[in-house]
């Protein structure tokens, strides 16, 4: 059999597709999936960006109510994390790969997105953990200073709280680095390989 015949055999399979699709059912399914994805993305943004903003409002409220100025600083640092997340999301949405463009451009853009994700997670210490950790540490130090004359219980509570925060942040940091190693780096390599294969006519 020559390639021409193979091509004919391939094209003949079109006639053999006997299955009829219920387009109304598929349309319903597609719409449901779309709603599901949109809602998942929306709630992820709310969780990651809105959570920090909500916390900053809570800190500000208690700062004003209890007249503890260190809570203003805590609110400000927490707010900065929320704003960073939201601004980053908006920028990334604008850079989203154009699905109807050529494959080369689509893979390049997808790769750029993965590289950005890796950058975010590798630097989670600087834009997430340090501002939040700094905010909490600042508040704890101020409270410790305010209750310095009280007997030991308050200080013990603050120390335990401090250790808890350090462990929590350490865990969050390592979870992020694991995601980079296990998921994002292999994905990046896969896309780079695809891109190189596409750019180089002589192949991999």
């Amino acid at each position: 059999m020559a390639f021409d015949e193979l091509q004919k055999t391939w094209q003949s399979q079109q006639a053999s597709f006997k299955l009829t699709i219920d387009s109304d059912m598929l349309l319903r399914e597609v719409k449901r999936n779309k709603r599901f994805f949109e809602s998942a993305v929306f709630w992820r943004d709310v969780r990651e960006g809105g959570g920090s903003i909500l916390m900053s409002v809570v800190f500000l409220y208690f700062g004003l109510r209890m007249d503890i100025w260190s809570l203003y600083v805590t609110a400000l640092l927490t707010l900065s994390v929320g704003i960073f997340v939201i601004v980053d999301r908006i920028i990334q949405k604008r850079k989203r790969p154009e699905l109807t463009g050529a494959l080369m451009g689509y893979i390049e853009n997808s790769l750029a997105q993965v590289v950005h994700q890796i950058w975010l997670l590798k630097n989670v210490l600087w834009w997430y953990l340090l501002p939040l950790g700094g905010a909490i540490a600042f508040f704890i130090c101020h409270v410790a200073w305010l209750i310095r004359d009280l007997p030991g219980r308050g200080l013990i509570f603050l120390s335990v709280y401090c250790v808890f925060c350090v462990l929590l942040f350490w865990g969050v940091y390592h979870l992020n680095q694991r995601a980079v190693r296990k998921e994002l780096n292999p994905r990046k390599e896969e896309l780079e390989q695809l891109l190189n294969s596409l750019k180089n006519a002589n192949g991999i």
Partner: protein, 174 residues
Amino acid sequence: MANKQEEIFKQWLDEHKKLMFKVVKTYACSPADQDDLFQQILLQLWSSIPNFQGNAKETTWIYRVALNTALVWKRGKVRKQRRHHKLIIDFNGASDIQQSSCNSMRNDQILGKLYGAIRQLSKIDSSVVLMYLDGVSYDEMADILGISKSNVGVRLNRAKKKLAQLLKGIIDGF
């Protein structure tokens, strides 16, 4: 606008489902994966309709969406995210040749081996072969992939050689 979008979607599904089936069968093996990829392609196709202004041919547009989705698709990702786990299309049933003549059974066997061989090529080469077999012109292939026409030619030649090796006994010497 929503009605128009639905109308176009149904029309594309009706006229070009075979194209989508072939892309899905090339890039996904198991029924669950095929279902995942098919749904992902449909989802992207639905979202792309508002941007379709008729400048590109329908098949070029659908090929772009289907191939872009398939090549960047991550196995099992959609299934994990989706609420519904029921398969919406049985691809094995869809591709079965219903006629029972010897000739069609032989074609069925050849097609099965051909899909197997295409899956062994690199992802990019698979897409070139897929389009070549479907009779897509070099110009369109270059447009869909974002590479030069000569690059398409070189790549296709190389892919055909590999395919001939993989399908020894079916394809005459290349």
